[in-house]
């Protein structure tokens, strides 16, 4: 049995989960900081 399909599946899961975490964290940070800056400028 070739191990490569399992290796590819494991790396795909890890990369997708990490990308989702970082994109969500970055988007929530930018949204919150933009709202804070907008309120300060008012």
């Amino acid at each position: 049995m070739s191990g490569w399909p399992f290796v590819i599946a494991a790396y795909a899961v890890a990369v997708c989960a990490l990308a989702a975490l970082l994109l969500w964290a970055r988007a929530s940070m930018r949204r919150a900081e933009a709202a804070a800056d907008a309120l300060v400028r008012k």
Binding site: M1, S2, G3, W4, Y11, L18, A20, L21, A32, A36
Partner: protein
């Protein structure tokens, strides 16, 4: 740590650090994974599936490190009343939960060709699954407490109690000798894996750790900005 109690001072350090940690983390993580996929030989017994090691091991360490962070933040909050401790605890949880999930998922995928099963109620696997559920419970509890305007003390106590699971995870392979292998990698040396296979692992450990830290800083910055907006809105409503 008390020097960072001032949010403005903390943000002066956190803003540049977030980008640097993200860049260094991506560089090391991508480099380490690429090296692990292309430059190392297959294991004589496991074949190519041994390459899952480079993502599974750092994910397991960081899944546990995330809860160490939560417990340290809880102590800092309950003992010293550090103003950023509750924020740091809440910020660590999503990153820790993600790495615990990666550890469980990649371990399950690794287990199928190696052990012949996707899952077994083995001591290490079960205690790691409990850690993942503890993260979900902490996230729900901490956000509910925050919405109700609480200081986060209940979540902090939950974080401390949950830390009991960490030594259980660590020693599970010694206490219950079932399916998961014993400790084969040590930070202090004495690993049982040959260096020809092991060398990309420090790269992914550094890379994943920097990405973890970057995600935590992003969440802290988001929480501080949200708190600033809420405080200003309260002042405007009161004026």
């Amino acid at each position: 740590m008390h020097a960072l109690a001032n949010p403005a001072r903390f943000l002066r350090l956190a803003r540049p650090a977030t980008g640097w940690l993200l860049a260094v983390g991506l560089l090391f993580a991508i480099g380490g994974m690429a090296a692990g996929l292309t430059l190392t030989p297959p294991d004589y017994l496991q074949g190519d599936t041994v390459r899952i090691l480079y993502i599974h091991v750092p994910a397991a360490w960081l899944g546990m490190a995330g809860w160490v962070g939560i417990a340290a933040a809880a102590v800092s909050q309950l003992v010293w009343r550090h103003p950023l401790a509750a924020v740091a605890g809440r910020a660590s949880a999503p990153a820790g939960a993600t790495f615990a999930f990666i550890c469980l998922a990649t371990g399950s995928i690794w287990g199928r060709p190696t052990w012949g099963t996707w899952w077994e109620w083995d001591g290490r696997l079960t205690s790691m699954l409990i850690l993942f559920f503890l993260y979900l419970g902490y996230i729900a509890l901490a956000s509910a407490e925050r919405e109700r305007g609480g200081e986060g003390r209940i979540a902090a106590i939950y974080g401390l109690v949950g830390a009991i699971n960490l030594p259980i995870i660590h020693y599970s392979v010694l206490w219950w000798r079932t399916l998961h292998q014993g400790q084969s990698i040590s930070i202090t040396g004495g690993s049982t894996i040959d260096n020809a296979i092991l060398w990309p692992l420090p790269l992914t450990v550094i890379g994943f750790t920097c990405l973890f830290a970057s995600a935590v800083l992003m969440r802290i910055r988001a929480e501080l900005a949200e708190a600033k907006v809420e405080a200003r809105q309260r002042r405007m409503a009161g004026a």
